[in-house]
Symmetry: D2
Subunit: 442 residues, 4 copies
């Protein structure tokens, strides 16, 4: 048997290719839209991709499962569990809807379907036995967003991202049951999860790509909760707010979107479009083109730009060609195919900034872009509060020439906010560099 | 003044960027569709591209002049000379139709329009004076397909590619006049032509990028013809046959086509499409996937594949990723945007071949794929003649299992023909390696 | 804790980077010479590489352990077990020699040294406990060439590659003991091996990157041998012959070699050097430059070229630039730093070849390049036998113009042999394409 | 005949490849050290490089003429004119020393040697006649640093860079004579110069790659000087100061240096070396690693870093990998082969800065890094003057903690100076952003 994990750092997402050497058949599990790497590896190893499966309807990236069916003409396997209203629609003819205890064979590799709801109602896991390798014991579990290394999937995305009232509570209870059920599998079973550290599909994912069930039974909090109520309380609390694009992801993964077609970004000479500068914040603040917004291209790129993307509008990206190329590809992974052009960085203006420590508390116009929770805990008296994710669309109650001091908690989000304010025409914006946490106003 | 020649080896085509440092304005002359390099150089040198011009309606590649207008919003300048029926249609609003002795300024650079028909009726040349550099004498002539280094433009393309009866004769006479007119310019004027060696827009272009008028007056045959009749006779004779795509080029350059959008080719898993193998012929014949056609990606690529492209059908390319990428881009330069996928070379079958010297003359099934002229001069008695450019669309009068000996003159075209025959289902094709010229049959 | 496996396809080798997020310290386990990827990942994750360890003196690739000490100034940990004569020499001052049950801390990550001889006398494994993650149970075992997925390390390399008489038997016994000892660890412990499928350090390694001890206990033959004698018999039999470069590897890894310095290969214009053509065999035989040797750049590259490299002589590589670049880097991984130039493939001659099925048995000059075992089983009566690995250095008992039919078992090795014969001046060599196995001579 | 200009933007330098299609021979004129492009083009066009020539001993880049002889074994042609003391030493056996009116043939291409001293005493030009193309009139002149487009070579480098007293005056007189001599050639002769705009080998080179003699006779100041004295005066005045590395260039080009071997830069973990940050100045000042020096990698890179390179010491470069790769290659072109490592930019500190307009004139510690000429014209009263090129080696008369205001004329050189001061341990440096020219101190 052949096994390979593909880990996408931008999505903190893991997908898998498994292949049966005896028959030359291979399966992708939880494919992203860009199938190139799967096909190249399969080709190189002498496999034909004949199958693909996904564990659930993803909320954080655009699934490639339909691309596999439509482009490669492979059989695809998705969950037939859960309520109809929330289930897969418009699936291609190659689709098989699988249920608990169904069995899929990829050559001589056996995959047993386990319904493991909690993260979403239809979530399944796939338990692999390498029969071609002469084994009759399970080797590992493709656990999707059910079990992660050191954590489990959050149950609140449907409620928060697509306003399914009450679904959090239901999911949490299902998760408790799913965890209990899985304990019966042997300790030596490997855990092959759908995400790693940094994913917003959980809150404390580890930086280790795979684990074992035995290790998780001992080390993972979810296997060690004293009772259901405690379990639910722990699971639900302190989950980060999902970025705007999650709603879009749920929609396109449930209903489908256009097929993936990668493209090459040309130089842009139309400077009317909204433009995102991909450099680090120091370079941006050192000198940037006025009215452009800084979203550094690093591991948080998707989680940050997700708040500001309008899927109906073209954007420009600013950066060197290679970075723009990568960022464009990354955006396609969340289904955004509309990067119209790239521009090289230009040093037009330098951002005004102030050390948090130098704030006197007497500043007249202060904009606090932290989230509601942070604001509610404490804030400057004169501050206006608009959460960073809403800045682009809400009106800002200042005059265009007011000297506006913008702060967040630590300096990352205010750094983005500066560009948004400039984009909206404010001309006198001051970045409070180290954020609220470093104010020394008494 | 800034000046840069851009030479595309695949098209044997020269385009130019000139810029006025005093005003920051720049102009492209005879742009190809892919504007990236012009924009990058302009950006790097601190210019904005504010103008573009083209010397005539090109027959051999897809013009980028409309892209400049639509994407960069620059003013574009095209010939307003010649007959209406053959003139530019559907031009964008930024278009200026210029006539003989009109003047265009790019900042302080003066360009004087000279009507120089012959290659086509509307052909113009542009005479540059660097007034910004303090000069009032002409520096050089953008001569398009009027004067090349060592040759001049052929007048027969309209007749051969788009069936304009009688246009060759008319063009040749106009060319004689145009050459006479230009002799008045000073010897020191540089000649900046539209094509170099290998271009099918002439028959004997030199491998030197630019020349001077004084040098051409002495060295170029066209300036030294004894009389008009000799001139016309020399000009018309022995011009190579234009590939099929020339008709398509004339059409899209006269009437417009869709804007250029570069794309990335994904691995192909659909093996029904026609597929062209980009490797050299030895590698292809050593081992290739059955029913694929070998068009090596070298300087003759466009001239060869031009015969076989159907602009309404997708194709696959076979080769390593980098070569496929280049070939895809090259095909876009002749307006072909339909490379659906790429495949890595596979060694499925080896081509049967025979040394020309080993042919006995007794072979029953012989296919001669040379052109009419070559065939008419002499050929094997039993041979069937179908010119290589027609193989794809004409029916081949052999049975699928007949042992067919395919030859051309030197071995290049038969090498392509082998793949076409395989593609059409013939299973027993033998390549006569060194062609007709090396037969030793008495 | 951070964990990442680095898998090199050319060496079938796994190395690892682990890092403690609390202290920012990181360790490489079994580094190759090219440290770039480790450093880039560490840098990207915010770690400083402060430690490195290796499990044993490798025989199949050039270790980077000394580079870590000399370039990064990290502490390095190597085995202090085994006999002095075979142990590490000339180690840098940062070296720690560790013994059974010693403990190494990388920040809050605990690594316990286990002496697990068998593959080599000094072999150690490292048992990891993620104390920083709040755990006191072992997570996994860096097992080096002790336990692989589905197999264990071979004990015969010292004897075969560096002529240590009797060491095979001793190693096999030690291995039996080491396997017995490790059984006490829990089932959920992950196995992180030093090699994967294709490595000549074992004979049946699986294509799965990691495993668990519990799974191996049930599935791996080595945990299920009925007694010591059977274990040893199974372990020793049918091990593939190690390529020539293994002796060189043992030497440089025990005594050290020069520091790694990557370089860029320039075009070669000196055609006297031995030259290896990296293309697939069909492309090579379709047309190649005379007197060059075909070693396709695929997963077997190292195992094949290893037989023919003279570490004291420069070589040229033939192929496209990107492939040459990769091959050059791959050769540096086995300590060969002497690629003097590259050349583009040229089609000078086509290899003569014959289908195995067309051999009559009457051919006068036949060269059999299979190994001794294959030869001894059966061979053509008139054949001369020289094992492929010895062709370059042994004299070939034919005249330069004899028509020599060269065959191996399946066609891969004869394909290499053709080039070697040409290189040695034989001018009339015929490749028996499908090898001995497809002869139909009765 | 084949002709191609190679223009290196970093050196503002032109070299040439010419080839005779009839014989397959080719010649490089004024090669740089990295021969890759010449060889690739020659290979692609079917030429063997059999000859190389250079016009004079270059002072601004490392010549590749010896590499051609030693690596390609081609015949090389250098000037045998001028004084022995200043002439080529240690030349390889393939060297031909040529004199005025000698003739070189590259296949059927004739090159006539013209001694054209002035820039240097041994300078020659090469007049090309394409006899293979059937011509007996000259096509063009490889004019080296004799005639540029719009300017001529400066005669003062020997005196300024290598302290040859009185050589400027002698050179200027020779140049006057050389210009007079060349006037006899026909107007249509092309001028193929050794440098373009930005080169410090002249003061007003045009941005047009080639010219014609007729055009230069009318437009170039040097052909239109009223008398010798005026000519000399104009030629000598206002020549820019040559960077430090010029002396090194003269030395290695006269006496030879080691052969060119390109290399790959690895990540650096040794932060003791001097490190140059290649980003633009705004990004650097926005956030950089303390004690690193900012030399942006743009067209002025060589002219700027040339002041600070110590050829006996390793350096690190800071930037993204691709930029470091380019910069490393560029440094090799001036013979500097000691880039030890690269580092990714880190935002450790932000540069303190002040608008020139905000300077009060009361600042206590002011460092003026302009050149002597600028300083002598006017300066701030309290300022200390150390020309930027001397900052690294001269002692700075301030305390390490003094608040030092650093300025140059426009902000470019002070931006470099900030890093040098940090490197030397000064901790409180303020960059006067727009320089002396924008001070508004009355």
């Amino acid at each position: 048997m052949f096994f390979k994990q593909f880990y996408d750092d931008n999505l903190s997402q893991a997908s898998y290719l498994i292949g049966c050497q005896r028959t030359g058949e291979a399966m992708i599990i939880d494919p992203i839209r860009d199938l190139t790497k799967y096909i190249e590896v399969a080709d190189n190893e002498g496999f034909a991709i004949t199958h693909a499966a996904e564990t659930h309807i993803h909320a954080d990236f655009a699934s490639g499962i339909r691309d596999v069916a439509n482009k490669i003409h492979a059989n695809i396997y998705v969950s037939g569990e859960g309520e109809d209203e929330l289930s897969y629609k418009n699936m291609p003819p190659q689709t098989h809807f699988v249920k608990h205890q169904d069995t899929i064979y990829v050559g001589n590799i056996k995959l047993e379907v386990l319904h493991t709801p909690g993260h979403t109602p239809e979530s399944i896991s796939l338990l692999l036995t390498d029969e071609g390798g002469g084994s009759n014991i399970p080797m590992g579990l493709f656990s999707g967003d059910f079990i992660f290394v050191g954590d489990i999937g959050r149950p609140d995305l449907l409620e928060k991202a697509v306003q399914m009232k009450g679904s959090t509570e239901i999911g949490a209870k299902q998760m408790y049951q799913s965890i209990n059920n899985i304990k019966n599998l042997p300790d030596y079973v490997q855990i092959w999860p759908g995400h790693g550290a940094g994913s917003p599909c959980g809150k404390a994912l580890g930086s280790i790509p795979t684990s074992t069930l035995g290790y998780e039974k001992i080390s993972n909090w979810a296997f060690n909760a004293t009772d259901e109520a405690t379990f639910i309380e722990t699971l639900i609390s302190n989950q980060p707010e999902p970025p705007h694009h999650f709603a879009q992801m749920k929609k396109i993964n449930q209903f489908g979107t256009k097929l993936y077609q990668p493209y090459i970004v040309s130089p842009s000479l139309n400077h009317d479009r909204i433009a995102f500068d991909l450099r680090n914040k120091e370079a941006f603040h050192g000198g940037h083109k006025q009215r452009t917004i800084n979203i550094p291209y690093n591991k948080n790129f998707i989680n940050q730009i997700g708040w500001y993307l309008d899927y109906d509008k073209d954007i420009d990206l600013i950066g060197d060609k290679a970075t723009v190329e990568h960022a464009t590809n990354t955006l396609q992974l969340i289904g955004f195919d509309s990067v119209a052009g790239y521009r090289l960085p230009k040093s037009e203006i330098q951002t005004q900034s102030i050390c948090s420590a130098d704030m006197t508390g007497e500043e007249e116009y202060v904009l606090d872009v932290r989230n509601d929770e942070e604001w509610n805990q404490s804030h400057l008296e004169q501050a206006v509060h608009i959460s960073h994710g809403k800045l682009l669309n809400e009106s800002i109650p200042f005059d265009k020439n007011d000297k506006i001091y913008v702060h967040c908690q630590s300096g990352v989000r205010s750094s983005i906010a500066v560009g948004i304010l400039e984009y909206k025409g404010f001309t006198n914006v001051v970045n409070v560099r180290e954020g609220y946490q470093n104010l020394s106003i008494d």
